[in-house]
Symmetry: C2
């Protein structure tokens, strides 16, 4: 705790050679085998390891990437973070976690902080977006990859998914099972995911032959909010299927169904979205639309690696298709 770390200069002195040669021997190229041996020995004796800050200053590279989301505790983001870490760590990059807050303004603030140059890039999943945020991302001094909305037209790299289409897939699945009275349980409409899922539901609602369509908006994307909103929805009666905008809302919905003494999936089939571990182990296991969190995280990290290598590399947009995972909550696979 107290001993001061050895510096490259000390290694050089110990080895009796110049600073330049020492650096070359340890990291660079163009040093003779004898020199390498000699310097290595000196470095080992002193327990030397290169200072990350000094190196960063000289190289203009931090070997750090920020991952910024509204809530680090959200299972979806956790999955992404794990995937991002798995891709970046082998390449020598560290991952810095940050919180965007839940407004577009606070997210903009965070993107602006990139100006202080503490990372080589940022992967961000904004909960809410506005023009100022878009502009800030475009002007950022380091590459930014957005997970969420596709921003093709603006020269911004993004990894998006078709959550609207995912809702469509869920509704069609229920329809195929013979469910004709379907309720939609969404989260806040002014969020990027909430808006997209609403579009998806509105589109598919017109396209299927349903006897009844209803919907309710939860205060946020949590189990508790889902429970409350589902109670309101079910109180209006007559539904045999519930489509929830994410797994947490779906679990709240299942609870609400059971409160009424009815069962899932027999009386009411329920679908979630995000395909979380939570939904997989829940009983009944949750039919859920996977938006490929892990895959999206990996894709974002790979784009980041390219951009970090070559900052002038063209922006890329990747779309990960949604995939319906059928499980017990709609009477599917046991």
């Amino acid at each position: 705790m107290t001993s001061t770390r050895a510096t490259l200069l000390q290694v050089a002195e110990r080895a009796g050679v110049s600073l330049a040669s020492t650096s070359r021997a340890l990291h660079g190229s163009g040093a003779s085998p004898a020199m390498v041996e000699r310097v290595r020995a000196a470095a080992a004796e002193l327990g030397y390891s290169a200072d990350a800050i000094g190196r960063s200053l000289r190289l203009k590279k931090t070997f750090q990437v920020a991952f910024a989301v509204a809530d680090i505790g959200n299972p979806v983001y956790v999955e992404m973070m794990r995937a991002i870490h798995e891709v970046l760590a082998p390449h020598g990059y560290r991952v810095v976690v940050m919180s965007t807050g839940d407004t577009a303004t606070s997210t903009t603030e965070l993107v602006r902080s990139l100006n202080s140059g503490f990372v080589d890039g940022m992967i961000v999943s904004p909960l809410r977006t506005d023009d100022r945020l878009i502009r800030e991302i475009q002007q950022a001094p380091v590459p930014v990859v957005v997970i969420g909305r596709a921003l093709d037209d603006r020269g911004i790299s993004s990894v998006s998914t078709d959550s609207a289409g995912g809702i469509g897939a869920a509704v069609r699945h229920l329809h195929a099972l013979g469910r004709r009275r379907v309720g939609f349980l969404n989260g806040p409409l002014d969020t990027t995911p909430g808006a997209a899922r609403q579009r998806g539901f509105d589109a598919v609602a017109g396209e299927i032959a349903a006897e009844r369509v209803d919907q309710e908006v939860a205060g946020d994307f949590t189990v508790t909010a889902g429970l409350e909103a589902a109670r309101r929805l079910l109180a209006r009666g007559g539904l045999d299927a519930l489509v929830a905008a994410n797994d947490l809302l779906a679990i709240g919905a299942i609870r609400a169904v059971r409160e009424l003494g009815r069962s899932v999936p027999e009386d009411v089939a329920v679908t979630g979205m995000d395909d979380t571990e939570l939904g997989r182990v829940f009983q009944p296991s949750l039919t859920s639309v996977s938006l490929g969190s892990t895959e999206r995280g990996r894709a974002a990290a790979r784009i980041m690696l390219q951009l970090a290598d070559d900052p002038d590399h063209a922006a890329q947009q990747i779309t990960v298709g949604p995939e319906l995972m059928v499980r017990e909550s709609t009477g599917g696979a046991r």
Copy 2:
């Protein structure tokens, strides 16, 4: 993306004053109001913001803290990370997430990497510990706070919990409910948590009046491993209570009970440990021993703040008491 960031020297030139004065005007003290005004204006015009690397090099401070665990996806660690982030961020510290791997050796490696000075400290929760790791922690060039095992005697700061006592509390709770045939479902015994929980169970098993005591060890701390181990345990018959070493194992156990056509909690009461969100929303909601993940994360972060301020501050050990959260899976609060 392309414009190069303004440097302090450029601000100085623009303002027509020296570098020293510019620095003082922006961050330090001892500058006249007129000077501050002038420099501020120039900085604003250039959109200047201080370079984190240059500043770090000079100040010998990175304003970063590492959080290292075996699996960032584990809900317990996620909770800790969130708590740590919440405490540190307001103080201007960034959180770098790292993976210890699951051996003592790989953890030692990670602690050793602190020598490159990329963080001001590390909060680590080792899955497995050995003497070399302990020594490495003691010799680390920056403060290290261990979450997990208490290491009072060695001058290492730690935040621990009495998970052994927590298992005891769970067993006594079941005993008080009249359950006399109790099975213990543990994770790998060579891990720090596995070993502690085993000690706890062995201690309490002798102390209660039980008709039958049995146990099984799962391959790891997951739902799947829990399911398999619980099947083996239940196959030997005759149990009316299962104590699991964490919530994931407990959920696997509930599944195993139901496979046999028996119900929780009527036929078999089940307890978990860690008090995760997962257990709270599961049905039946899980009686679980809270080890205060959030509280431990917060405590570790607070210790880190003190140590970062004053590296010679004495090591601290904090213990967070376990707390039994009674819910449906033992027939408790509905």
